[in-house]
């Protein structure tokens, strides 16, 4: 099962290395990991998407909690949360293809951010499912390059543990 884990950490040198070392040392696979500063510059929040059964997730959570630099670990999957991913894509687009692409972009509420004679750059935000669906729609046009941020997620109100 897919789990989205939110990890609040000290915003220190090397913390990312420690967290990723824990995952690799214990053989856990990360689908995606994104990290950035929070409202408090002294802390960063990592959103880690992993797959595993309940016992694996329990171990991941407990082992993360043991790291000195980890302040809080929340498995958002058990709660009400909002997830988003940002995706940038350069897709081949010549002549009449442009119109078709723009139509799909509109339906997905995506954005064309750059156009050149033979390609377009498109920005999509949304859930993992939306991103996957958009990629499928674009494949026939010839995706030249694809960059994804990985999921970030935030709990709805009262998601924080006291």
């Amino acid at each position: 099962m897919k789990h989205t884990i939110s990890v609040l950490v000290e915003n220190h040198f090397g913390v990312l290395a420690r967290v990723s070392a824990l995952f690799s040392a214990r053989g856990y696979n990360i689908d995606s990991l994104s990290v950035g500063e929070t409202e408090d510059p002294a802390t960063s929040r990592m959103t880690v998407v992993v797959r595993g059964d309940d016992s694996v997730l329990e171990q991941i959570t407990k082992q993360l909690n043991k790291l000195v630099d980890v302040i809080e670990v929340i498995d958002l999957t058990e709660r009400n949360f909002v997830e988003r991913e940002l995706l940038l894509m350069r897709v081949g687009a010549e002549g009449s293809q442009r119109g078709e692409i723009v139509e799909i972009v509109t339906i997905f509420r995506a954005k064309v951010v750059d156009v050149s004679p033979d390609s377009m750059i498109i920005e999509v935000t949304g859930s993992e499912g939306k991103a996957e669906a958009f990629i499928d729609m674009m494949r026939p046009f010839g995706i030249q390059e694809l960059v994804r941020t990985g999921e970030i997620a935030i709990g709805r109100s009262h998601a924080r543990r006291d």
Binding site: A17, R18, K66, V68, D69, E72
Partner: protein
């Protein structure tokens, strides 16, 4: 004061009296600070600095010191190779939860990342092995970082902490506060919760409901009882409810091995009676133990008839290997005190079980091959035990001699059996013994070693004589890596690849004499055994005794890797109780670790 002076001052504030380490380019300022402190200390106590042959030795000396005293061990090495030579002891300390602080010199900040001379990515390397690592990139954080390193090492589940200090930080003039820790929000919150943890009245009621329902209760105690200074409480608990106790390798010494209720070590090479008791029990109370594969074997078949209660300071250990019926995340001392208090009126009547256990202990006692002229290692240890009577600090290497030591020697007190358990690091024994002797100068300290293990850090023989450290080295030389030979006999058709050392030309006695051992003897005739051991024990100063033992001796009992206790092989000399033995041929090249 300079960063170097500050490091030494914090060491002194933390009660460090002995530092182990090897000097080098990137740590020179801090070594100089030790010299200058000792030179101008006046009436203050000196800071001993003990230089090993190899930094790995320094690490195991610090670990031996920490294991023997319960205090944080400290070691101090240079960058690059100095630091990487410490990876093994750091991982060893992590695996056995031993509190040590390692300070590594690092190249100066402007040179970090330039592949400078003797540069290694210590933070990255140690991240994967240590409880925590710091790279001091801001000199104003140095003092709080070093103090926090000690605090992290000894608190919660203890472990090793590495502080990487660039050379220019050591040279920098820094303010000295005399106190103050880093603000570690997450760690401090977890620690606070851990320190407040108690056995709630509700939990206690459920625990005693299970215990009173049991007819065959057993305690399974691990190293956490010793780390948590809970041995008195465990002994009181065992006595109060008349609960027999099996211990892990790391738990040896948590109860007095000569006590009637002590069933000694369980697991792969545990006593037959301990393993039978685990098979027979209907309630198992695990405390400070973690169902390691050398204990649990085939997890589904471990304690198959028992409801299980588990007390551990580390939440991640609960349910990691084996699902349990009752658990409490708490330090062992508090948990046992709370349970003793809550169970004041509880009465158990398990007399038939105690009779059963007493019968097991007699019927399945240890024995060895007596019909031979070759010296049997078990006999050597039995004779030694009669002389030391559980009062010495015993260190070991890793392998057969380690298991026989765990089986045959008595230990009255915790922190007297010092061994590399989880990592199983050959070469641990001698440096650990040197460190233990610095920590406990009034105790007799003996390293019981094998030829393979001793060879790994044989350079440290010289360290003992350099400093006149009166450690005793008892070498059981079977000219081979005995434990691996045993597995090759069992599982690899007697093909002794890489493990038979009969070709070796080394004369161990001359080796010891060459570095200044006045007492250095070799025994190959069984008739001389007792006399030689007596002289060895009575010798003053560093002493070395090599005993040539039978290479064919096996460690029994043995529960094969990945097997259940019902498949235990007791061998030709220990009585079994007729359970089917596994077909080792069929087992073949086992993938089970």
């Amino acid at each position: 004061m300079t960063g170097a002076d500050l490091i030494i001052q914090v060491f002194l504030d933390e009660g460090v009296d002995t530092v182990f380490g090897y000097n080098g380019g990137a740590i020179l300022p801090t070594y100089d600070a030790v010299f200058r402190y000792n030179d101008t200390r006046g009436d203050r106590p000196p800071l001993n600095l003990i230089v090993p042959a190899n930094e790995q030795g320094a690490g195991f000396m610090a670990a031996g010191y920490a294991r023997a005293t319960g205090k944080v061990g400290a070691f101090l090495v240079t960058s690059g190779p100095g630091a990487t030579n410490c990876v093994t002891p750091i991982r060893d300390c992590m695996a056995d939860s031993v509190p040590v602080v390692l300070i590594t010199g690092q190249v100066a900040r402007p040179s970090i990342g330039t592949d400078a001379f003797q540069e290694a990515p210590v933070y990255n390397i140690m991240s994967a092995c240590a409880k925590h690592v710091f790279l001091v990139s801001d000199e104003s954080q140095l003092e709080a970082t070093i103090r926090s390193a000690f605090e992290i090492a000894r608190s919660g589940r203890p472990g090793p902490v590495v502080v990487d200090v660039p050379k220019d930080v050591q040279n920098h003039v820094v303010p000295f506060q005399g106190k103050g820790l880093l603000d570690l929000k997450g760690y401090n919150r977890h620690l606070g919760e851990m320190n407040k943890a108690r056995v709630t009245p509700q939990d206690a009621r459920e625990f005693f409901k299970m215990l009173t329902r049991a007819r065959r209760p057993l305690i399974y105690a691990g190293g956490g009882v010793i780390n948590g200074n809970a041995c008195e409480e465990l002994r009181a608990f065992s006595k109060r409810y008349q609960l027999p106790v099996v211990t892990t390798l790391m738990g040896i010494g948590s109860v007095d091995t000569t006590d009637d209720l002590a069933l000694h070590m369980l697991g792969m090479h545990g006593t037959a009676y301990a393993n039978y008791a685990v098979d027979d029990c209907d309630f198992l109370m695990a405390i400070g133990a973690r169902f390691d594969d050398r204990v649990a074997g085939k997890v589904e078949e471990f304690a198959p008839n028992a409801t299980i209660a588990h007390i551990d300071i580390d939440a991640a250990e609960i349910g990691k290997v084996k699902a349990v019926d009752w658990s409490c995340v708490c330090n062992a001392k508090t948990a046992l005190r709370d349970l003793l208090e809550a169970g004041k009126k509880v009465k158990l009547d398990c007399a038939p079980w105690l009779d059963h256990v007493a019968t097991l202990k007699v019927a399945h006692r240890f024995d060895w091959e007596r019909d031979t002229d070759k010296i049997q290692p078990q006999e050597v240890l039995a004779i030694l035990n009669a002389m030391t009577r559980g009062k010495a600090i015993i260190c070991t290497g890793v392998g057969q001699h380690q298991m026989w030591t765990a089986q045959y020697l008595d230990f009255h007190k915790p922190r007297t059996f010092i061994t590399s358990g989880s990592m199983g690091t050959m070469g641990f024994g001698l440096p650990a013994a040197i460190g233990a002797k610095f920590g406990c100068p009034d105790k007799v300290v003996i390293d019981i070693d094998g030829d393979g293990s001793l060879r790994m850090n044989i350079g440290e023989l010289e360290t003992a004589t350099n400093y006149g450290v009166p450690v005793k080295v008892l070498l059981l030389n079977n000219h081979g890596d005995g434990m691996v030979l045993q597995w090759q006999r069992l599982y690899f058709g007697h093909r002794f690849m890489g493990t038979d050392k009969t070709m070796t030309k080394r004369n161990f006695v001359k080796t010891a004499e060459a570095v200044g051992y006045r007492f250095a003897r070799r025994v190959s005739d069984r008739a001389e055994l007792k006399k030689a051991l007596k002289a060895f024990i009575n010798a003053k100063g560093p002493a070395f005794l090599e005993i040539v033992t039978d290479q064919d001796a096996d460690v029994f009992p043995m529960v094969g890797p990945g097997l259940g206790y019902k498949n235990m092989i007791t061998g030709p000399h220990i009585q079994d109780r007729g359970d089917p033995e596994p077909d080792t041929e069929e087992l073949g090249h086992s993938d089970a670790f």
